[in-house]
C-alpha cells in the first residue's frame, strides 16, 4: 500500500503476472524447505498461509523493527553513487502510464442515526432495513 495512492495493488498484480502464490501484509515470515509460512493480522485474529516457493510477499509494519542508522553510515550516505538507469535500458516500454483515473469522489455523507428505547426495537429496525 504505497503512501501516495494507497492502492495496495503492486504485490498482488506482480503475483498474478508471474502466476506465483502471494502472501500480503506479512507480520511474520518463516522459511521452510521449498516453502514459506506467512502470517498476517486480520479482524478476527491471525491468518497463516503456507506458500510454495517462489512466492510474492508484501510486508506490514509489524514484520520487524528497522535498525538504527549508524553515524558513519549517515555520513557515507551522501557520498554513495546514485546510478540513474533509463527505463528503456531495462526493457520497460516507454509511453503513457497504463493506469487511468476514472473518478474521484468523497464517501457518501453520514446519515443521521436514531436512538431506540429497547433491544426489541433495535432488532425490529435492523430487520426492517434488511441488515439482518
Amino acid at each position: 500500500q504505497a503512501i501516495d495512492d494507497d492502492c495496495n495493488q503492486t504485490g498482488q498484480l506482480l503475483a498474478a503476472m508471474l502466476d506465483w502464490p502471494q502472501g500480503t501484509f506479512a507480520s511474520r515470515v518463516e522459511l521452510e524447505a521449498g516453502a514459506v509460512r506467512v502470517q498476517r493480522e486480520v479482524d478476527g485474529g491471525l491468518e497463516t498461509l503456507r506458500l510454495r516457493l517462489p512466492a510474492v510477499l508484501t510486508a506490514d509494519l509489524r514484520l520487524n523493527e528497522p535498525r538504527y542508522a549508524t553515524l558513519p553510515n549517515i555520513m557515507k550516505a551522501k557520498k554513495k553513487p546514485l546510478e540513474v538507469v533509463p527505463a528503456a535500458e531495462l526493457g520497460v516500454p516507454a509511453g503513457a502510464p497504463r493506469l487511468k483515473v476514472l473518478q474521484v469522489q468523497e464517501p457518501p455523507a453520514r446519515a443521521g442515526g436514531e436512538k431506540v428505547e429497547s433491544v426489541e426495537s433495535l432488532l425490529g429496525k435492523l430487520r426492517h432495513a434488511g441488515c439482518i
Binding site: Y68, A69, T70, L71, P72, I74, M75
Partner: protein
Amino acid sequence: SREAERPRTAMAMAWRAAPRAAARLLLGRRGIASCIDPSTGLTEDQKEFQKVALDFAAKEMAPYMAEWDEKEIFPVETMRKAAQLGFGGIYVKPDVGGSGLSRLDTSIIFEALSTGCTSTTAYMSIHNMCVWMIDTFGNEEQRHRFCPSLCSMEKFASYCLTEPGSGSDAASLLTSAQRKGDTYVLNGSKAFISGGGDTDVYVVMCRTGGPGPKGISCLVLEKGMPGLSFGKKEKKVGWNSQPTRAVIFEDCVVPVGNRLGAEGQGFSIAMQGLNGGRINIASCSLGAAHASVLLAQEHLSVRKQFGEPLANNQYLQFRLAEMATRLLAARLMVRNAARALQEGREDAAVLCSMAKLFATDECFGICNQALQMHGGYGYLKDYAVQQFVRDIRVHQILEGTNEVMRMIVARSLLQG
C-alpha cells in the same frame, strides 16, 4: 490518593511504558511546538543524527531511566548499543574507531540522548571526552592502543582531575608521579570520579614537576594496575546510573609510555578537554529541560482544577512561555559556543564557559518549574520530572562550578 485517579498523561507513561509505546509517544511529540523544535536551523545530516539519537533515547533509554536511577544500575549493554551507532567516540577521528563529527553535531546528539536519560548521557559525554584526549594528545601507538576499544565501549573511561583538596583550584592538585627509570610511581587520590571502579581506563592528571599548572602531566592508567584502588560507591541525589568513587593511588607504577603529551602539558590538556566537556554537559541540561517542558505542557493540558484544564490559567501559560523562551536562548548559546570551538576561534573558551553557566542554570530552573507545575505529583518518583531535576542539579557544579564560569568571563572582560 488512589493510583487510578493520578493523571497519567501519555507523556508521563512514555518514561515508564514498554519501549514501543514510549517511542510512539516521544517521537510523536518531538517537535510539539515548533518554537522549541530542536531541529530548527540544522543541516540535513544533523537532522539525521538527531533523529537517530532521539529514536535511541525514546526506545532504549526512556523506559528504563527510572529503574536505572532507583537500582543504581550502570547500563553497560545499553551504552554499548549506543556505541555501535557511533556514540562512543563522536568527535574522535575515524582511523581509531571514532565518528569524526563536529562539536555542534556532538552537542545535538547529547541533547537528544539526554531526553531519554540525562545521567547516562552525561557519563557518555565524560567517556567521549576521555577518548578525545587520548586521540588528540596521544602518540600513534597510544591512539591505536586505547581508542578503538573505547570507541566501541568494549572498555569504559573515567576522567580524574578533582581531589579532596582541589576542586575549583584544580592546578593545586597533589597526586604525585615520581619518575623512576621508565615508569612513574603515583601516590595520592582523586575524588568524585564518575564511573570510578567500574570503568577500565583512567585519564589522570598528576604532578610530575613543581607546583602550579606547569608541573602537571597526564597519564593513562588501567584497572588492575597494582596500587590502583577505589573508595566506596557514593550515594548521590542524582546521576545514579553512574557509580561515583574515589580513585586511590598507592605506589601505583605506570609505564612512561602511558603519558599523554609532554611532561608539564597536563593542565593544558585538561583545560582543552573541559571546553568540550562544558558544551557537552550544557547539552545534557538542554535535553532534560526540553523533556521537562514537554511533560509540563502535557500535564497542564490534562490536569483539571476549578473545572478547567490548568492550561487555561494565564499564570501557568506565562510560566510555560518563559520556560520555552529560556530553553531556546540556552540552546542557541550552547550551539554558538560549539561552533566557536569547532572553528578554533579565540573566544571559544569564554563562550563555552558562558554557555555552560547560562544553560545549566536556566535548564535547572526550567526543570524545577516543570516539577512545580505537576503539583504534588511532581514530587513522586512515579513521575519522570523529578529525576530530570535531580540529575541536572549537579551540572551547575561539575566541569567547573558556575562560580568559576563567572571568574572566567569576568577575567576575559576585565583583563582580556
